[in-house]
């Protein structure tokens, strides 16, 4: 048997698996996005050209959801990376001596995001929540955490609290990987601590910071479960992320074609971003 045929035979199972698991839904997704389709005619969709896409692009809610996802993704990724960096540098000397602290610090990561949403729904509830209760008791007033004005800040804070440990963990590893002799060389050469941080340490952690930011951005951009459980897209649709928009269009409105058109747009945009981010990282390394 020639190596070529051997390779083909060996690769067949994984190719088949991918085709079935990813290829089939993808093809169906694209097909439906160009069709007039609802739950009644799922098996016999009729092609309607780009009508779904026009509908999506003309829907202000789609743009509101896109804007929310972008804002949420960037804001949470940025705050998580900055906080993670501060924690990593500040706690490094303590953690070096007490390794078990890492386990405590990354605990929020092991909670399912939907459970996190549920937990805060209880904690922040206007009538039965413990936080408003004590704020009323001690200060006589409490902000409406889930009101239209405050809800973005609330979900932003929850997401940051849960996922800062992830950024912290990555950045701490990068920080510890900087050779100690390099710090020593810089300090003998007269470098003050602040300058050392900005000009020696941060540049060496830059690739990790970029990766951490990118992963957290993707995660924040496609956010669904914790927000959906906590606010259910409220107040007044102000926390509708793109994922929630697609979900609501699909199941609530039954507008399957529109939902899938939105998902195809999301996929294309994500692909473009991924492509450029990959190129940026590669150039960074070269």
């Amino acid at each position: 048997m020639s190596p070529k045929t051997e390779n083909r035979i060996l690769a067949t199972p994984i190719v088949l698996f991918l085709l079935v698991m990813l290829g089939f839904p993808a093809v169906l997704d694209i097909l439906y996005s160009f069709s007039e389709v609802s739950f009644e005619n799922l098996r016999s969709p009729t092609l309607n050209g780009g009508k779904n896409f026009i509908k999506v692009v003309n829907d202000p809610e789609f743009w509101a959801a896109s804007w929310f996802s972008l804002k949420f993704g960037v804001a949470t990724a940025l705050s998580e990376c900055i906080l993670g960096l501060v924690l990593a540098v500040y706690l490094a000397p303590i953690i070096r001596k007490n390794n078990w602290m890492i386990a405590v610090l990354i605990m929020p990561m092991i909670i399912a995001p939907a459970m996190m949403g549920l937990m805060y729904r209880l904690v922040l509830h206007e009538f039965v929540g413990s936080l408003p209760h004590y704020l009323y008791l001690w200060l006589g007033d409490s902000p409406a955490f889930l009101s239209r004005e405050n809800v973005f800040l609330t979900v932003f804070t929850i997401e940051t609290l849960q996922w800062t440990p992830f950024a912290f963990l990555l950045i701490y590893m990068a920080y510890e990987a900087i050779p100690s002799e390099m710090r020593e060389a810089a300090s003998v050469d007269g470098t003050r601590p602040w300058r050392m941080f900005w000009f020696i340490e941060v540049p060496q952690m830059a690739p990790t910071l970029a990766v951490a930011f990118f992963i957290r951005f993707i995660d924040g951009f496609r956010v669904f479960d914790n927000i959906f459980v906590l606010t259910g897209a409220g107040a007044g649709g102000s926390t509708t992320s793109l994922s929630i928009y697609i979900y609501l269009s699909f199941f609530r409105s039954g507008d399957i074609g529109k939902a899938l058109a939105a998902s195809v747009i999301l996929f294309c945009v994500a692909f473009v971003i991924l492509f450029f981010a990959g190129r940026l990282l590669r150039r960074d390394r070269a």
């Binding site: 002799e181 390099m182 060389a185 300090s187 050469d189 007269g190 470098t191 300058r195």
Partner: protein
């Protein structure tokens, strides 16, 4: 440009004493080498001078000023590390210029100094490269460039040549010696290689187990080692130490009635040391000691001959490389009496 003075410096890591009271002075412009076996504390001593470790006792003075409590960035020294510790994200230019930028030197002045240093170290064509695109020897020179550009009070070198191959090591050794002449700066250099120590140093500090064994010029250490440790550590192949023997009647008496005449001595020597080049092979008839060849290493110009002497044991002899010696061949030995070293029972020179 400065003097570096250590007064009774000690350092312990927990209960382990690594440096046990070291006092020494590096005069202005002097090239001082710390040498000793691994684990003797020589690198720790250098790090104490740099301020990278805190002393447990004693004091360190640079130019007469007590710097014991100062952070490394306030001591005005430069250090070259074994791993070079270059900043990987900066170009060669950036690496050399960094300390000057830290010090707030004007841009034009920085440029002039960096280019001058690069010229001295033959780095000019590589100024725009990153460290990862350089060879080991070039990286090493960047590390030196980074140190000299600041015109520090003193240079500290921590085994800077151990990551280079043999040929490059010899070449860089000469370059460092020239650099020292050119700059006239105080340098403290740590190595485990006694050849580096002998060739570079004005003053060698031999350390063992956290204590100074001897301080002196290379010649002093070679010709008048204070104790058996220094005697054996300096010189390659190392000095032969004959087994302990009793002294009497102007001779050392060994087992089986073997004796060596050494004439009248003031003290009572117990151990006789003799360097391999101070023993010569001769016909058996003229011999002071008779021996047989046990092993011979041909080094080119020399033969490094191991012989077995009845009553004394194994000795190492440097003989002419042209001699053809067979294992088991009987040979006669003559010792150069003027070059013998005498130590008492505690291994201290008498």
């Amino acid at each position: 440009m400065g003097t570096i003075e250590l007064k009774n410096v000690t350092k312990s890591f927990g209960p382990v004493a690594v440096i046990k009271g070291v006092s020494l002075t590096a005069e202005e412009g002097e090239f001082v080498v710390f040498v000793g076996p691994s684990g003797c504390g020589k690198s720790t001593l250098l790090r104490l001078i740099a301020g990278l470790e805190e002393t447990s006792g004693g004091s360190i003075h640079i130019d007469g000023k007590d710097v014991t409590e100062l952070d490394p960035n306030h001591r005005g020294l430069s250090m070259v590390f074994q791993s070079y510790a270059l900043y990987p994200h900066m170009t060669v230019y950036g690496n050399i210029a960094f300390a000057l930028k830290t010090a707030g030197v004007a841009k034009l002045e920085i440029d002039r100094k960096v280019r001058a240093a690069a010229e001295t170290l033959k780095l000019t064509p590589y100024l725009d490269r990153k460290p990862k695109d350089l060879s080991g020897g070039q990286r090493q020179r960047v590390a030196i460039g980074r140190a000299i550009v600041r015109q520090p009070k003193g240079f500290l070198f921590d085994e800077p040549l151990s990551n280079l191959d043999a040929a490059l090591r010899t070449q860089t050794r000469i370059e460092i010696a020239n650099l020292h002449k050119e700059l006239g700066a105080t340098m403290v250099y740590v190595t485990h290689d006694q050849i580096e120590a002998m060739t570079l140093a004005d003053k060698i500090v031999v350390l063992n187990d956290g204590e100074v064994m001897q301080i002196g010029s290379p010649k002093e250490l070679y010709y008048a080692p204070k104790n058996t440790f220094v005697a054996q550590f300096i010189g390659s192949p190392k000095m032969n130490l004959l087994p302990r023997a009793s002294y009497g009647g102007g001779a050392m008496h060994y087992q089986d009635g073997v004796k060596i005449d050494i004439g009248h001595m003031d003290g009572t020597p117990s151990i006789v040391g003799v360097r391999p080049e101070d023993i010569s092979l001769c016909p058996l008839g003229e011999a002071e000691l008779s021996a047989s060849v046990t092993h011979n290493e041909f080094h080119g110009a020399d033969n490094n001959v191991f012989v077995s002497v009845p009553g004394i044991g194994s000795l190492n002899v440097r003989a002419n490389g042209k001699l053809d010696l067979q294992n088991g061949q009987p040979v006669g030995l003559v010792l150069d009496k003027s070059q013998l070293h005498y130590f008492d029972e505690n291994g201290v020179r008498t």
